[in-house]
Structure formats: structure tokens, C-alpha cells
């Protein structure tokens, strides 16, 4: 195949007559790979293999029997659901679309989480990891373990790596962080790579000295803000019951001495949060944040034992829907605020690109996109895998920092993730039209159903994502104003 002739094909427009459907023998078309999903309003969502979609009231039988109108033919043709016999499908183009959607599987893991310390001065009810009191330095990651972890990280092929420091409370081991950053910068230079640093912190121990270091090294900060004081302090307990105030003080310290762009906050939804999503959203706006991630609680660690952290998925969906509607209303009034999970799905619905959200990938993002290095040198497939280990379940432990990548990636844990992490091969997922916008999560299903493959009809992961994708598709299709709002959420 001559490369030049391929370029000709894409550069040249077909004659005008070719674009008039009436000149084609009506209904002489072949279908391209697609699936369909029945929406609650009676319409049908058609989704192509590479994520193009349309909502139609044309029956699938009529499409397959070639009994559709010329208008429908035009629509299906424009969205790559059909092609005419005398114009073969553009395989190269469609393959490129599919490759773009799955671009996150290129290269190795890009996100490396170092659990720099297990120490924490909070005792949050939903904490997924067992934390120790803040004076136990034996639960800090040693310099030797840091060296070995970084040695593994910089062997990987990706030119752009993200190293995220987590805990416990990461800032309680600021010396470990300083050592790791210095060492990582050196390794990045000699290996010709770019590295981004993120610190996950509750901000309670942040002071000017620490902030100066973060500023000097251009480190991003990820903190927790569960809502106004009564919600935040109920969820996030510390001596003095002043977690909220310390968080706000920390945010203000960053605003005034570093940069507000360098800090982001996340919330976790508990039973307390479910009472009123609007006050949480208002709190975020009050503190100047334009993004809020209305994320459900993860069913791991202490969260499984805490009453405030248990709720049915349907209650969460009601909470989310109320929150999303409120956010859309605010947008309509000119207040720009984005719901992050919706934004992730919208990127998949409204653009041909993928994103780096590891919890919603197929193949699963665990191992392929994220690796966790625990304070004691053990390596896990993801943060959730580490949380499971806190509950004495080492299923997704890949090995230790003393192992090489060959051993780690061929470990039982890695193979379990790979075998149960490809939605295109899983029962329930493989025939689901929403898969191009969704993902698989073998670790979630192992934790909640005792089986990494999972049973989709009762899966909370499935219910949540199917509901949200349907909700967004319906809103985009039925309300041009909401569609426009969603499109603004995708502008960088």
C-alpha cells in the first residue's frame, strides 16, 4: 500500500453527487460494529465500537433489515454506524479512533504512589488504611526503600511520570519526601524524563517551612474537604475536633504564599454527606474551588466497619443526582462549577480522546497505569489493593521493591488483574453498549463480591456507571443548554 495514495484519499473530497443520499440505492449499506442500549425514556442509544453514539427511536430491526429512511441513513453514515457498499469503510480512520480511545494502555504505569508514612494525627471514620499514631517513625518509608522504589520507577518506558506521596499523613514524614524528591529529580535528569510530584495531605500540619519546600519544588497538593465544618468534622476526626479549620487555614496559607492553582481538594461521601449535597457544593464555591468530585466511599479498610460510611448505592445516586442538578443550575446562572466524575464521562462521550482516570479503564488501570509502593517496601496493584491488604487480603500484592519488573508483572496479583480487568472479555461487560465509556475494576469486585471478575447484575460499580452514563446521554440529547454547559467543562 503506497503511503502517498493513502494521503490522497484523506485529502480529497468526493464529488458533490456522492453526498446526496438519493443518488445511492437506498438501504444498500453494510453495518459497522456497534451495540445498543435501551434508555428509560423508550429511545435507544446506539454506540459504535470506538465510542460514537446517537440516540434514536428507529428500531434496531429496521436498521438490520435495511428499512430505514434516508434521513436516518444520513445520520448513521455521518456517525460511522454504516457504510455504503461502493464506499468501503475507512479502516485506517476507524482504527485510529479506537487507538485514541485506548491510548492509556501505551507505555507502562504512569502514576506511582509512594506511601511515605503510615503515621496520621486524624482518625477518619472512612479511612481505608490502618494508620498509626503520629509518633511512630518506624512506620515511615526508609531511605533505602525509597531508593529501591525510585530505581524501579525510572526503569519504566514512559517519559512523563507522576509520583504521588500518600499516607497516613504524608507531611509527617517531610524528610522522607525531601529525600525522595531530590533523588527522583536526579534520576529524571539522567534518564531524560519529566516527573510531576503530588502530595496528598490533610493540611493539618502544613506550615511555612514545609510550604516553602513545596513551592520550591513546584509540588501539587491534593487535600480533603468534605464540606462545611459540621460535615467535615463529623467525617474527619482529630484531637481538638478542628480538622475543618486546619484545612481552611492550610488552603489559605497556600493561596497567600504559593498558588491556588497548585491545590485541589476531594471529598468523600458519607451518610452525613448524603443529607445535603448543596451545602457541600456551596462550601467548595465559598473556598474558591470550581471542581468538586462527588465520589462515593470506597468499600475498603475502616470504612467497612464504620456506620457513617455504609449506605446503599441507590442513596448515593439520589445524592449525586441532586448535586449534579444543583451544579447545572449554578452553571445556568453563570457560576462555573464542574462535577469531576461527570467531566470524566463527558470527555469520553463528547471527544474522541481518553483520559487518565485509572478507576474507569478497560483494561483495568491497576498495574497498567498505577503502582503503589507501601512504606514497608511491598508493592500493590493500586491504592485499593493496598487498602485490601490492610484487611489482611494480599491478593493484589505484586511483590516488593527487591523484585524486578519481570517478577512483579508476572505475579499472581498482576495476572489476576489482567485476567479480570478487560471488560471486552467479561460476562456482562462484553455485550454492554456503554463499555466504551466505562471500565472494569477487578479489585472493587474482589472486595465487594469476593470475585475479581464480578457479577454485573448486582455490582455497585456497574449500577453507578450505567446510571451516570445514561443520565448524561439523556441530558445531552434532550437539552441543548445542558449540552453546551457540559462542553464548556471539557475546555482546558
Amino acid at each position: 500500500m503506497k503511503q502517498s495514495s493513502l494521503r490522497k484519499e484523506f485529502r480529497r473530497f468526493r464529488p458533490e453527487e456522492d453526498h446526496k443520499t438519493s443518488n445511492h440505492k437506498a438501504n444498500f449499506y453494510s453495518i459497522l460494529p456497534f451495540n445498543f442500549h435501551r434508555l428509560k425514556n423508550g429511545e435507544t442509544l446506539l454506540v459504535s465500537e470506538w465510542g460514537d453514539w446517537i440516540v434514536t427511536d428507529t428500531s434496531i430491526e429496521d436498521i438490520l433489515d435495511r428499512k430505514i429512511s434516508n434521513n436516518t441513513i444520513d445520520l448513521l453514515l455521518s456517525k460511522n454506524f454504516i457504510h455504503f457498499y461502493d464506499h468501503p469503510p475507512q479502516v485506517e480512520f476507524l482504527a485510529n479512533r479506537l487507538r485514541a480511545k485506548k491510548s492509556y494502555i501505551n507505555g507502562g504505569p504512569k502514576l506511582h504512589i509512594l506511601v511515605i508514612s503510615l503515621r496520621c494525627e486524624h482518625t477518619c471514620g472512612y479511612c481505608q488504611v490502618s494508620r498509626v499514631s503520629s509518633d511512630k517513625e518506624q512506620f515511615d518509608m526508609s531511605n533505602e526503600t525509597i531508593d529501591k522504589a525510585l530505581h524501579l520507577i525510572f526503569q519504566l518506558p514512559d517519559d512523563h511520570l507522576t509520583i504521588e506521596f500518600q499516607g497516613g499523613e504524608a507531611l509527617l514524614n517531610i524528610e522522607g519526601i525531601k529525600y525522595a524528591v531530590k533523588r527522583a529529580r536526579y534520576l529524571a535528569t539522567i534518564n531524560n524524563k519529566n516527573v510531576t510530584f503530588v502530595i496528598c495531605t490533610n493540611l493539618a500540619v502544613l506550615d511555612h517551612t514545609i510550604l516553602d519546600f513545596l513551592k520550591q519544588e513546584n509540588i501539587l497538593i491534593s487535600a480533603s474537604l468534605d464540606g462545611p465544618a459540621n460535615v467535615h468534622n463529623t467525617n474527619r476526626i482529630r484531637p481538638g475536633r478542628d480538622s475543618y479549620q486546619r484545612t481552611i487555614d492550610g488552603i489559605n496559607l497556600i493561596k497567600n504564599n504559593y498558588s491556588f492553582d497548585q491545590v485541589s481538594v476531594l471529598m468523600t461521601t458519607t451518610n452525613k454527606s448524603l443529607e445535603n449535597p448543596k451545602i457541600i457544593i456551596d462550601e467548595y464555591l465559598k473556598q474558591g474551588f470550581k471542581n468538586i468530585f462527588l465520589r462515593p466511599i470506597s468499600p475498603y479498610g475502616f470504612a467497612t466497619f464504620n456506620k457513617n460510611s455504609h449506605y446503599e448505592i441507590e442513596k448515593y445516586l439520589d445524592f449525586y443526582k441532586e448535586g449534579l442538578e444543583y451544579i447545572i443550575e449554578l452553571n445556568k446562572k453563570g457560576v462555573r462549577v464542574i462535577e469531576t466524575y461527570a467531566q470524566i464521562i463527558l470527555r469520553r462521550l463528547l471527544t474522541p480522546y481518553s483520559d487518565g482516570y485509572v478507576d474507569l479503564m478497560s483494561p483495568a488501570g491497576a498495574v497498567s497505569n498505577v503502582i503503589v509502593y507501601d512504606y514497608n517496601g511491598k508493592i500493590y496493584a493500586s491504592d485499593e489493593a493496598r487498602m485490601l491488604a490492610q484487611m489482611k487480603d494480599d491478593t493484589f500484592c505484586l511483590g516488593t521493591v527487591n523484585d524486578d519488573w519481570d517478577k512483579l508483572l508476572n505475579s499472581e496479583g498482576a495476572i489476576t488483574v489482567q485476567n479480570a480487568g478487560v471488560g471486552e472479555a467479561l460476562p456482562g461487560c462484553s455485550n454492554c453498549a456503554l463499555l466504551p465509556f466505562c471500565g472494569s475494576d477487578p479489585i472493587y469486585h474482589h472486595a465487594t463480591q469476593g470475585d475479581s471478575v464480578g457479577f454485573r447484575p448486582t455490582s455497585g460499580f456497574c449500577k453507578r456507571n450505567m446510571w451516570l452514563i445514561e443520565e448524561l446521554v439523556t441530558r445531552i440529547n434532550s437539552d441543548p443548554i445542558q449540552k453546551k454547559i457540559f462542553q464548556t467543562w471539557l475546555k482546558r
Binding site: 493513502l6 494521503r7 485529502r11 460494529p33 482504527a95
Partner: protein
């Protein structure tokens, strides 16, 4: 014990489509597949009486999976080529489409002659 029995023609509904449907419905309706004495017929049964609406729902789901099978059958080869081309672009060569493909800017020197 009351039972609901649905008879389906094997000519119209494949076993794989039925299995997919039963999998998705298993949380709501415990359904069983069994062969029938009538040729080319499959029996779908449940050990409880179901309303007309439930039966209609089950049949719709089965029908949908059968439609998906039909789509898969029609598009299987092309899907495999597209996926292979997506992830092994150098290995899979796609035959150039036939037809008059003139080069308007004369990139191809052979055409220029």
C-alpha cells in the same frame, strides 16, 4: 408449585443469546433453560408465577441479545480487522479502496508523468 414456562424457537434464539439474557436477569428472575420434547424448541422456566409485564420484559431482553448476536455476526470480520489495525498498525495491511483516486497536487510522481 406454580411455574412460568416460556417456549422459544431455537431457529430464532441462540443458546448464547439466551445465556446472556439469563445472566443479566438472574438478579430479578431466576430462570432455567431446559430442552423440550418439541423439536427446535427451548424451554425457559422459573419456579414462580410471573406477571405479563415481567414475561414481556424477559422476552424483550432475550430479543435484544439476539439482535446483538445478529450485529456481531454481520460485523465480526470487520471488527477484528479494525481492532488488529488499531493495535498492530504495522502488521495489518489494508487493501487500498478501488476507484479513481487522482492526486490533485501531484504528490505521486508516477501520476505526474
Amino acid at each position: 408449585m406454580s411455574q412460568t414456562v416460556i417456549e422459544l424457537s431455537e431457529k430464532h434464539y441462540s443458546l448464547s443469546a439466551l445465556n446472556e439474557a439469563i445472566y443479566w436477569l438472574s438478579n430479578i428472575y431466576p430462570l432455567h433453560i431446559s430442552p423440550s420434547v418439541i423439536p427446535d424448541t427451548i424451554i425457559l422456566s422459573t419456579n414462580s408465577e410471573m406477571s405479563e409485564e415481567s414475561t414481556k420484559h424477559i422476552l424483550q431482553v432475550i430479543h435484544d441479545y439476539q439482535l446483538r448476536e445478529k450485529i456481531k455476526f454481520e460485523t465480526k470480520s470487520l471488527k477484528e480487522i479494525i481492532i488488529a489495525k488499531a493495535f498492530y498498525p504495522d502488521v495489518i495491511n489494508v487493501t487500498e479502496p478501488t476507484g479513481d483516486m487522482r492526486d490533485p497536487v501531484l504528490m505521486d510522481q508516477n501520476e505526474a508523468k
